[in-house]
Symmetry: C2
Subunit: 251 residues, 2 copies
């Protein structure tokens, strides 16, 4: 946070603010994490890949809840109509034909039991704490900060562009079919990030608000990073799986 | 959680419930964590010891807030009068002559800057998320669950009894003086844990409430465990310190 902490002291133009936000992504987005590097290099074990899908499900499943919280706090119908698309993307028309269902298909395609994944009870506690922090953030911080915390989507087309070809090329048990989640995501994420970025550039009109926006994006990068830290520690082969978490060895 | 998940299905006597709670401690308390083993064996680097004190400060500093939340939700004046002692222990008479101040003394005694520690800005995000989850738990769950989540204090005299002699014997830069935090803690923790255990045994009168109490203690063990997971991953020597966190190499 140090390097961005004073960026907004004297106030930034909208395009300067955008530049700072993009620098945060370039320095802190989780495509820089060693776990992601291992994934795209083909080095993950099947257990690591399963643990990733299982834990990431907790994140996916909370996205429409944090977006509903943002909706609930938004007073502008036009904003709500736009933001609502995010919920529709993840929940689909019946709850189980959108992004969450497609993530579940990835998890089951990797050999996990659907009910176990949906129960989230074998996820790492650290995943739950990080995801809970994200939901709390969108509940308790200003709507501007909540919107800004979504801006990691500026960078998600890049990580998906690295992840999908590598998963198909490097892991023989991964098929295009189970990666259906990722197909619409770059388009959706670009649409959503463009809207959120324009909103932030329009509404972060004081140095204090600009700093809050910067801190919100740093916070969100920390959430994603901490999830991979926990995965790497638990499943990196040293036997550091915490008590009660997913452990295929225990059957 | 598996092994305790069905313990309360048919209802437990108060003493059976106590036995289950003690079993959770025997299986999941953080004296079993590899980071604690390294600490008592003398294997921690000075950076690891500093990182532990710095991150643990975030936990210490939230304790009186989570206890205040429990106080705010308690309707019985006698309960509040008893529970209030916990806040007094940590805040002291003026905010800076109780347990938090003594923890700060430990941190500065290990060479850290007091203002940096108090700002919490170099703590691991995972620490913040775990501590935040604890505060949220005491805010959002039932008062019975909030009380039950404090029951890790049943086990804290044991870990302090392992930690203090080992820190003095194995690390030449650790003096009795900087360990002042721990001197009153076993007595305070025993008094507090006895009260909380009696409360839980009296009020967890249905299988559902007993299960909630069990889950609350498991949750709290997960909080403490996840904090050591994050420390071990970040400062275990492999260079996994997340962006923005305490890093003495960066000066």
């Amino acid at each position: 946070m140090k390097e961005f902490a004073s960026a907004a002291r004297d106030g930034l133009s909208p395009s300067q603010l955008e530049m700072v936000l993009r620098e945060i992504g370039a320095a802190r987005y989780h495509n820089l994490h060693p776990f992601h590097h291992q994934m795209v290099s083909g080095a993950l074990t099947r257990t690591q890949m399963q643990a990733w899908a299982l834990n990431r499900y907790c994140y996916q499943s909370v996205i429409p809840r944090k977006d509903s919280m943002i909706l609930a706090r938004a007073e502008d119908p036009a904003f709500r109509a736009e933001w609502r698309k995010r919920i529709e993307d993840h929940d689909g028309s019946d709850g189980w034909n959108g992004g969450i269902a497609r993530w579940l298909k990835l998890a089951t395609g990797l050999g996990l039991d659907a009910e176990m994944v949906k129960s989230e009870r074998l996820a790492l506690p650290a995943t739950r704490f990080a995801v809970g922090a994200y939901l709390s953030f969108c509940t308790n911080r200003s709507p501007l900060e909540a919107v800004a915390s979504s801006l990691t989507e500026l960078f998600s087309p890049v990580i998906i562009g690295e992840r999908v070809p590598a998963m198909l090329a490097k892991y023989d048990y991964v098929s295009e079919d189970i990666l259906a989640y990722f197909k619409p995501r770059p388009g959706q994420a670009s649409r959503d990030a463009d809207f959120a970025l324009a909103y932030v550039m329009e509404h972060a009109t004081t140095p204090e608000k600009q700093q809050a926006v910067i801190d919100a994006l740093v916070f969100k990068c920390d959430v994603l990073w901490a999830m991979l830290d926990a995965l790497d520690y638990a499943y990196g082969g040293k036997g550091h799986i915490p008590p009660g978490a997913f452990n295929p060895e225990e059957g």
